[in-house]
C-alpha cells in the first residue's frame, strides 16, 4: 500500500515535471499567474467596480442602489459649491505639504548622502525610518496632545508671549508634513547617492562656487528624485481623512467619501474618482519632469 502510494506520487511529480520541461512559456506563465491575476482582478478589478458604481444612483425612497447609467452624482459634484471647496482645499494642502517636505528633506538627504560618515549615515537612516515603526494613529494622537490648548507647544511658546496654532488647517499641514517626511527623504537620498562625487569635484575644479555647483549640477541631477518623493507626499495627503478629522474640523475629499460610503455608495464612488483624476494629471506632469527616467 505504502510503496504503491509513493510510486504513484512520484509518477505524478514526474509527469508534471515532464509537462513543464522545455516549455518556457508555460513555466513563465505559471510563475506569473498569481501576481498578475492579483494585479488584474484584485487591484484593477476593484478600481473598475469603483468606476462603475460612480454611474449608479440611489433610489430616494428605498435607499437601494439602482444599477443603471446616471450622471446625477457628477451633477451634484459640479453644481454644489461645497464640493468644489473641499476638493480645492485637499489639493491645496497636498501641494503645501509636498513643498514643505521637499524643503525640509533636501538638506537632510544631502547630508546623509554626501557629508555624513558611514556610521553617521546608518544612524540617520534609522532615525528617518524610526517613526514608520509606530502606528499612524499613535502619531496623530500624539500631535493632538501636543497641539491642544494645554499642550506642550503652547507651554513652550508661552514664555515668548506666543500661542500655538491649536486645531485647524495649520495643524493639518503640520501633522501631514511630519507624517510623510520620510517618504520624501528616502527617494531624494537614493537619488543623491547616485550622483558620482567626481562630478562635484570636477565642478569645483572648473571654478564653480558651491552655490553654482548645487544649482547647475546637483539640483538638475537629483530633481527626478524630488519629483518621485513628491508623488508619495502628494498622494498620501490627498487620500488621508483621519488626520483632518482628528486635528481640525476641515473636511477633505476622504471625509466626504467616508460620510457617504454606506448610505450613498454611488456618490462616494464618484467622489473617489476626483483624487484619481488629480493623481493622473500629477503623474503626467511628473513624467514630463523626468521622475520615471530611472525606474
Amino acid at each position: 500500500m505504502a510503496t504503491e502510494a509513493v510510486v504513484e506520487g512520484r509518477s505524478v511529480g514526474h509527469r508534471l515535471a515532464g509537462l513543464f520541461h522545455g516549455r518556457r512559456r508555460l513555466q513563465v506563465g505559471t510563475l506569473l499567474a498569481g501576481p498578475v491575476g492579483w494585479l488584474v482582478i484584485g487591484y484593477l478589478g476593484s478600481l473598475a467596480v469603483l468606476l462603475v458604481a460612480a454611474f449608479w444612483s440611489v433610489d430616494p425612497l428605498s435607499g437601494e442602489v439602482v444599477r443603471g447609467l446616471s450622471f446625477e452624482n457628477f451633477e451634484t459634484l459640479f453644481n454644489e459649491p461645497v464640493y468644489r471647496e473641499i476638493v480645492w482645499r485637499t489639493v491645496r494642502v497636498a501641494a503645501l505639504v509636498t513643498l514643505t517636505d521637499a524643503i525640509l528633506a533636501f538638506p537632510i538627504a544631502f547630508y546623509m548622502a554626501k557629508v555624513a560618515s558611514r556610521r553617521g549615515k546608518a544612524i540617520l537612516v534609522v532615525a528617518v525610518l524610526l517613526p514608520l515603526w509606530s502606528s499612524y494613529l499613535v502619531k496623530v494622537y500624539a500631535w493632538r496632545t501636543m497641539l491642544s490648548a494645554g499642550g506642550v507647544i503652547n507651554w513652550a511658546l508661552a514664555p515668548f508671549g506666543l500661542e500655538g496654532p491649536g486645531f485647524g488647517g495649520t495643524a493639518v499641514w503640520l501633522v501631514m508634513s511630519y507624517l510623510w517626511l520620510p517618504y520624501m527623504i528616502l527617494p531624494i537620498y537614493a537619488g543623491l547617492e547616485r550622483i558620482p562625487n567626481s562630478l562635484i569635484s570636477a565642478s569645483e575644479d572648473l571654478g564653480a562656487s558651491p552655490f553654482t555647483t548645487f544649482r547647475r549640477v546637483i539640483l538638475p541631477l537629483s530633481f527626478p528624485a524630488v519629483v518621485a518623493g513628491s508623488i508619495f507626499t502628494f498622494a498620501l495627503t490627498l487620500g488621508d481623512y483621519i488626520t483632518p478629522r482628528l486635528v481640525s474640523n476641515d473636511q477633505f475629499i476622504g471625509n466626504v467619501i467616508f460620510n457617504n460610503i454606506s448610505n450613498n455608495l454611488p456618490f462616494a464612488s464618484a467622489l473617489a474618482l476626483v483624487p484619481i483624476v488629480v493623481m493622473i494629471a500629477y503623474l503626467m506632469v511628473a513624467r514630463k519632469l523626468g521622475a520615471f527616467e530611472h525606474i
Binding site: 484593477l44 478600481l47 473598475a48 468606476l51 462603475v52 460612480a54 454611474f55 449608479w56 440611489v58 433610489d59 430616494p60 425612497l61 428605498s62 435607499g63 437601494e64 442602489v65 439602482v66 444599477r67 443603471g68 447609467l69 451634484t76 454644489e80 461645497v82 464640493y83 471647496e85 473641499i86 494622537y141 493632538r144 496632545t145 491642544s148 490648548a149 494645554g150 499642550g151 491649536g166 486645531f167 478629522r245 482628528l246 474640523n249 473636511q251 466626504v256 460620510n259 457617504n260 460610503i261 454606506s262 448610505n263 450613498n264 455608495l265 493622473i280 503623474l283 503626467m284 513624467r287 520615471f292 527616467e293 525606474i295
Partner: protein
Amino acid sequence: MRKHDAHPARTALLIAGGLVVFMLLLAGCGSSSNNTTSGEELQKVGKGEGALSLISWAGYVEPEWTKPFEEKTGCKVSDKVAGTSDEMVQLMRSGQYDGVSASGNASARLVDGGDVAPVNVSLVPNYKTIFSDLKDQPYNTFDGVNYGIPHGRGANLLMWNTNDVKPAPTSWDVILDPKKAAKYKGKISAYDDPIYIADAAVYLKAHQPELGIENPYELNEEQFEAAVSLLKEQRPNVGEYWSEAAKQISAFAGGDSVVGTTWQYQYFELEGAGKPVAASPASQGFLPSEGATGWSDTWMISSEAKHPNCMYKWMDWIVSPKVNAEVAEYFGEAPAQSLACEETADKEFCTKYHADNPGFWKRVYYWETPLADCGNGSSDCKDYNDWVQAWTSIKG
C-alpha cells in the same frame, strides 16, 4: 540613455481607457436588485446551530460574556464591529450575518429593506422584565410587530467645564443661540454626524413653535432648512466636532472644548478622572429645558439568518440580568433589563444612568431614521440622504 519604447503615461491612459469602456458596459447592462423577502417568526427555539455571526457596536460583544455563552449553548460567536449605523445597514444587506445591535436610525431602514425578520418575543424569556417604556417603540416595532429585543439606551447630554462656563447653562441655547454661543467661540463641542441636525430640531421645536416641529426626525423642507441654517450659524463657534468618544474626552481634558453635547460615557469618564465637568442636574430632570436626543439599541435578527436558534439564544442571553448589567457597565449605558440594576458592580450605576427613571426618558427623542415618508401621506419629509448632503454643507 532614455528608452524610447516605454511610455508609462500612455500605458496608464490605455489602461484608464479600457477601464472606462468596461465600466460603461457594466453600468449599462446592470439591473436593479430586488430582495424584499421578509422572514417568518420562529415558533420554537431548537438546538443551537453551533455558530453565530453578529454585527455590533464596539463593546457590545466582549469575551467576558461571549465565552460563557459559547460554553452554555455551543454557539461559537464571531463579531463584526461597525462604526456607524450606516455601516450596520450596509453589512446587514450582505445577508451574511445572523443579527445586529441596531440603533433607531438604522432599524427602520433594515425593516423597510426586508433585511430583518420579526422577533417572537415569547421565545425570549428575559423579555418580560425589560423596562416597559422600551417595549413597542417606533424604532423596534413596526405595524404592531416586534422586530427586536431592546439592549440599552443613552441620552445625549449637555456637558460643560465648571471653571469656564458660568452660570451653569439650563438650555441648549448656550451652544445653539448664535449670540450666546459666541461667548464660547472656538470652545464648543458638537457631535460629528448628520443625525446631529435633530439636536437643532429639538431646540427649534421649543424656541420656534411656529415651525410646527413634532418629531425632530421628521422634518419638512421649511423645518429642515431652519435646523440646517441654525447649525451653519453655529459652525464658526464650534471648536471641535467629535465622533469618537476618546477624541471628545481629550478635548475636554486638555481645555480645547468647554461646553457641548456628549454621551453619559464621556461625562462619567471625565468626572471620574477628576476633571471639572458638569451635566444638567437632577433639579432640571438631568436634561436641558428642551429635552434631548438619545439612542436606544435593539438586537434584530436577519431575515436570512443561518443560525436562528443561536440568535434567539443570544438575544435572551444578552438581556439576562447579569449579562445586561455587565454590558451596560462596560459600555456606559442604561441597561434595558430592569433586573440588571441589582447585578451591577457599582450599586449606584442604574441611578447614575437613569435606567429606572421613566421621567428622564420621556424627554429623550431616540434616534430614528429620517425617511421621506413621515406618516402624513405626502412623502415630503427630508430623507437621510438629504441629511448627509446637508451635513457636508454645514461643515463646509
